[in-house]
Symmetry: C2
Subunit: 213 residues, 2 copies
Amino acid sequence: MRLAELSERSGVSAGTIKYYLREGLLPPGQRISATQAAYDESHLRRLNLVRALIQIGGVPVATVREVLRHIDDESLGTSFRLGAALWALPHPPDAPEGDPLAAEVTEGLDGFLTDMGWNHARELGALSPSYRSLISSVTTLVRLGFAGSLDVLAQYARRMDELARLDLDHLDTFPDDSQKVESAVAAAVLFEPVLLALRRLAQEEHSARRYGL
Amino acid sequence: MRLAELSERSGVSAGTIKYYLREGLLPPGQRISATQAAYDESHLRRLNLVRALIQIGGVPVATVREVLRHIDDESLGTSFRLGAALWALPHPPDAPEGDPLAAEVTEGLDGFLTDMGWNHARELGALSPSYRSLISSVTTLVRLGFAGSLDVLAQYARRMDELARLDLDHLDTFPDDSQKVESAVAAAVLFEPVLLALRRLAQEEHSARRYGL
DNA sequence: CCCATTGGAAAGTGTCACTATCCAACCACG
DNA sequence: CGTGGTTGGATAGTGACACTTTCCAATGGG
């Protein structure tokens, strides 16, 4: 398959594919001649993943490159590859270092993790970008006075705990390691808009029931 | 309070505040003289909301202006104001019009809404940006072959249904209408990163339990 | 009274994801 | 042959966005 066909089959313009090749998001095709290269199904698959990460997930090009590097790094075990790839995904900026409010929130969240029984998370602590995101997001909420109490947070966390279990069950159905890591990344990113859309839809539904129209 | 103090108290640079004033995201202060204006607590509050929408929610400036217009429109009833403000928030682009895959997904989702008992959503249908987002997100998932079956989707939806109930209970504790609408918008946007961080944290936790480390 | 400060307008900046333009080598048809 | 359209690759340009910087005249505290 030449670049033009790859473009047609993926719906991505030839110019953009060239750009991805240049940026190292797509491995070069097999050179046929000085001005010709051949691409195969693996390129199409990778291109789809890249497109999804960038367009749906809003992941910056440089970050996509990082994530792919981890996905393709076969020198690591599955759990490291998966962790590295997921941790490379973009996260909101951390709370400012010396913020006393953030320190207070961190303390509260630590107890919260204990209550949830999320002990691995508690041990990893600030090493995990997800945990740092959580701290900074909750700190912002508190600062603005929309402090859903820790109780509401726990309700949210309980649901996410249940869903994470489901997600991992689904992941276990993939036998191949590379595919497992790739799927985990894709699912992590692509399910986010689904999750958010479902939340808003649910809110609209209940809002309509309560307030009419 | 003059602009400099507003800047200091909010942590937003004076230049940026001027920019927001220019863009109509912040009402002008009360003019004291030809070169002096006074700002009050309401400006500080509004500035915090704007900052949160833009920085945390990634909402484009032009969209923030739209949302604020609805929040401030006292000519409408609460439910309309709330709906209008939430619908003005950014959503992923729709699926292309003539896409047969999208049509198929739409059909499946319609049945899914029925099963969920989300009848208002089903009646509104494609009018709701959230529903259109859901269709396009799920279509992308299916296209890339990461089709969490409708069953997984239903699991997600059930949890969001429960959480939406909670959120609205919390909203009911605000007596004032303007405050209710403002809080709903802030919560819709500011809880999203919390929700996503909790999901990833839960996934890390369960992944660590299953695969070690 | 005088000079640092203020609010406001206009133009500039940095980032990011493309996109348009070239160019020489190539292949396919006549 | 040959010739005209196509291909991959390099370079430079585009447009959107969220600020920043620069400039200015009016102000007002010491």
